[in-house]
C-alpha cells in the first residue's frame, strides 16, 4: 500500500534542495553559466592571493621611511601612517585636527540616525539642528576657547562629507519641486522647470563649478563676494537637483491615473494629494535610481579640486606631492578609494534595506 493519497503533499525532488540543488540552480544551471562560474573562480584565484601578497605579506610593517618601503615593495603602510592625517583633514591646523575628526563623527552619526526608522519623528529636526551647530562650532571655532579656522583651511573627509550632506539635503527637495513643476498644468511654471532641467543636464558639473567660481564673481557688485566653498556647494546642489527632478518625474509618471482620481474624489487639494498619496508611492519606486544619484553626488564632490578646494581627493594628491614620499600614489589613492567605497557601499546597502522595509504588504 504505497499509493499516495490524492492531494497529499510530497517533498520536492532531492536534486532541487540542499547544497547540490543550490549549486545547480545558482551556479551551473546552463553550459554558459557553468563557464561563467569557472571563469569567475579563476579570476578570484588570480586576484585574491596577489592582493593579500601585496597588502600583507610583501610589505615590511616596521618600515618607517620611504627608502625602506621602496626596498621591500608591496603596500607602503608607513606612507599611510605618515600621511593619513593630511589626507583625512587637509591643511587644517595639525594640533586642532581632533575638531574635524569629531565634526565628521557627529555628521556621520546624524546621518545614521536619520536612516533609522525609529528616529523619524519631529525631534530628528532638533537633532540635526544641534548636530549642525556643533559641526559649525568645531570647524570654525572662534568661540568656547577654540581658535578660529577659516574655511579655506578646511579639507579632506569632513569637507567631502559636508559638501555631499548639504548637497543631498538641498538637491532632493529642490529636485522634487522641479519634478512637480515640470508636470504642472501652469505653462509658465512648466516652461521654467523644463528650461532649467535641460540647461543644467546639458552642462558638465566641472563647467558649473568653474562658472560658480570664476564667472559668478564678475557679475556680483564690487566688494560683494560669496564664499568659495558656498559657491561650490550651490553649484553641486543646482546640478544634482536637475537629475533628481527627472528621476522623480519618472516615478510620478508611473503612478496610475486612478490614484489621482481617487484622491480627487475625496476632495483632497493638490499639495495634500502629492504629500499623502502620490509622492510616497512615486518616491518608493525611484529609490534605486535616486540612491544612484546620491552616490554619484558623493563621488562628484571630488571635482571641486578644479577650483582649488581641498577635499579628500585633493588631499590625497597633496600627500603624494611631498618630495620625500614621491611615487606612493597607489598607496594614497587606494587609501581614499577605501574611504569612498565604505560610504558608497553603506548608502547602497541602506537603500536596499529601505526598499525591503517599505515593500511589506503593499503589493497592488
Amino acid at each position: 500500500m504505497d499509493q499516495t493519497l490524492p492531494g497529499a503533499d510530497r517533498l520536492p525532488p532531492r536534486t532541487d534542495t540542499g547544497v547540490i540543488g543550490w549549486l545547480r540552480t545558482r551556479l551551473f544551471s546552463s553550459p554558459l553559466n557553468a563557464i561563467l562560474t569557472i571563469l569567475a573562480l579563476w579570476l578570484l584565484l588570480l586576484a585574491i592571493p596577489a592582493l593579500i601578497d601585496y597588502l600583507f605579506i610583501k610589505p615590511d610593517f616596521a618600515a618607517t621611511t620611504a627608502a625602506q618601503c621602496r626596498e621591500t615593495g608591496g603596500y607602503c603602510w608607513a606612507f599611510v601612517r605618515e600621511k593619513h592625517r593630511l589626507i583625512l583633514f587637509g591643511i587644517y591646523p595639525y594640533d586642532e585636527q581632533w575638531r574635524p575628526l569629531l565634526a565628521s563623527v557627529i555628521l556621520v552619526a546624524a546621518i545614521v540616525c536619520s536612516c533609522i526608522r525609529w528616529f523619524w519623528k519631529p525631534f530628528l529636526g532638533l537633532l540635526w539642528a544641534v548636530a549642525l551647530v556643533a559641526v559649525g562650532v568645531l570647524m570654525w571655532g572662534g568661540v568656547l576657547g577654540l581658535s578660529y579656522v577659516e574655511n579655506a583651511k578646511w579639507g579632506g573627509l569632513p569637507l567631502t562629507l559636508i559638501l555631499s550632506t548639504f548637497g543631498i539635503a538641498f538637491a532632493f527637495p529642490f529636485g522634487l519641486l522641479l519634478a512637480l513643476g515640470r508636470r504642472s498644468h501652469m505653462p509658465g511654471v512648466k516652461a521654467v522647470c523644463v528650461v532649467y532641467i535641460e540647461l543644467i543636464r546639458g552642462v558638465p558639473l566641472v563647467s558649473l563649478l568653474f562658472m560658480s567660481s570664476v564667472m559668478l564673481p564678475l557679475f556680483l557688485p564690487e566688494g560683494f563676494s560669496i564664499d568659495k566653498l558656498l559657491r561650490a556647494q550651490i553649484a553641486i546642489i543646482l546640478f544634482a537637483a536637475a537629475y533628481v527632478a527627472e528621476t522623480v518625474r519618472g516615478g510620478l509618471q508611473a503612478i496610475p491615473k486612478g490614484q489621482y482620481e481617487g484622491a480627487d474624489s475625496l476632495g483632497l487639494g493638490y499639495w495634500q494629494q502629492m504629500r499623502k498619496i502620490i509622492l510616497p508611492q512615486a518616491l518608493k519606486i525611484v529609490i534605486p535610481p535616486l540612491v544612484g544619484i546620491f552616490i554619484s553626488l558623493f563621488k562628484d564632490t571630488s571635482l571641486v579640486v578644479i577650483i582649488g578646494i581641498f577635499d579628500l581627493t585633493q588631499a590625497a594628491k597633496a600627500a603624494v606631492s611631498d618630495a620625500v614620499w614621491r611615487g606612493f600614489s597607489t598607496e594614497s589613492y587606494l587609501f581614499i578609494s577605501v574611504i569612498y567605497f565604505i560610504f558608497c557601499y553603506s548608502i547602497s546597502r541602506y537603500s536596499l534595506s529601505l526598499e525591503r522595509q517599505l515593500d511589506q504588504g503593499q503589493h497592488r
Binding site: 482620481e261 481617487g262 480627487d264 474624489s265 475625496l266 476632495g267 483632497l268 510616497p280 518608493k284 497592488r364
Partner: protein
C-alpha cells in the same frame, strides 16, 4: 418634484473631435436612486464623472447642491466633499492600510480629529462587513473586499450624493453579490442620492427609482425600472436589453 440636487443643463463634451456628451439634460431629486446603463462608449461614465469634475464639460451647466461647477478650484473641492465616488478599479491607496484609507479624507479634508475619524471608519467597515480587515493593506484583500472598502471610504466623508462607476464590472463573478448587497443596503437604509452606472439589472429593479438608457452621448430613454425593462419604447433600448438579458 422638489428642488433637484443635481441639474445638468444642455451639457456638451468632446474628446478631441469626438462628441461624447450631446446636449444632456438631467434633474436628480434628493434621495433619488438612478441606474444608468447603455453600451460601452455611450458616455454614461463620462456623464457621472462630470458631476464631480473628474472630467470637464465644455458647454452647458452642471449644478450640484446649488453650486455651479466652474473652474473655481475651491468650489470644485467643496462639491467633491459632498459627492462620493466608487470606481470600477477601486482606486484605493495601496501604500496605506484600510483604516488609513478611510480616515485620510475625514482627517485632511474635513479636519476631524483622528480618533473620531477612526471611530467613524470602524462603523462603516462594520457596515460593509469587514471590520477585521482594518489593519491590512488593500493588496492583501480580495476584489470584493477592496470594493467594499472603497464604498466605506466614500461613506466616511458623509456625502450627500454617491456616484458608482461600474462598481462590479472588474470583480470576479462570485464577488459581485457581496458588493451589490452592500449597495442595496445603503440604498434602502439611507436617504442618499445615488447614481449608478451598472449593467446589474437585478440591482436596478430592486433599488432604482429611475433607469436611464444612454447611447452615443444622448439619453435615449428613462423610466421607472419595471416599465423600463418590461416595456421599453425605443428600438435601441429594446436591442440593448435583448443583448444583456439572455
Amino acid at each position: 418634484m422638489s428642488e433637484p440636487i443635481i441639474r445638468l443643463k444642455n451639457v456638451n463634451k468632446w474628446y478631441g473631435q469626438f462628441h461624447v456628451l450631446k446636449d444632456l439634460n438631467l434633474d436628480v431629486a434628493p434621495s433619488e436612486r438612478i441606474v444608468i446603463c447603455g453600451p460601452s462608449g455611450s458616455g454614461k461614465s463620462t456623464m457621472i464623472r462630470c458631476i464631480n469634475r473628474l472630467e470637464e464639460h465644455q458647454e452647458g451647466q452642471i449644478i450640484v447642491d446649488g453650486t455651479e461647477l466652474t473652474n473655481d478650484l475651491k468650489q470644485i473641492e467643496a462639491i467633491r466633499r459632498d459627492v462620493g465616488m466608487v470606481f470600477q478599479h477601486f482606486n484605493l491607496f495601496p501604500h496605506m492600510t484600510v483604516l488609513e484609507n478611510l480616515t485620510l479624507g475625514p482627517v485632511w479634508v474635513l479636519k476631524r480629529p483622528k480618533a473620531e475619524a477612526e471611530a467613524t471608519a470602524m462603523k462603516y467597515l462594520e457596515r460593509v462587513r469587514i471590520p477585521d480587515q482594518a489593519n491590512k493593506f488593500p493588496g492583501q484583500l480580495s476584489g470584493g473586499q477592496q470594493q467594499r472598502v472603497a464604498i466605506a471610504r466614500s461613506l466616511c466623508m458623509n456625502p450627500k450624493i454617491m456616484l458608482f462607476d461600474e462598481p462590479t464590472s472588474a470583480l470576479d463573478p462570485e464577488m459581485v453579490k457581496e458588493v451589490l448587497d452592500v449597495m442595496v443596503e445603503l440604498a434602502e437604509e439611507t436617504g442618499m442620492t445615488m447614481l449608478c452606472v451598472t449593467h446589474e439589472m437585478g440591482f436596478a429593479r430592486k433599488v432604482a427609482d429611475r433607469v436611464i438608457f444612454m447611447d452615443h452621448g444622448e439619453i435615449i430613454e428613462q423610466n421607472a425600472p419595471d416599465a423600463f425593462f418590461d416595456n421599453p419604447q425605443n428600438e435601441r433600448t429594446k436591442l440593448f436589453l435583448s443583448q444583456i438579458l439572455h
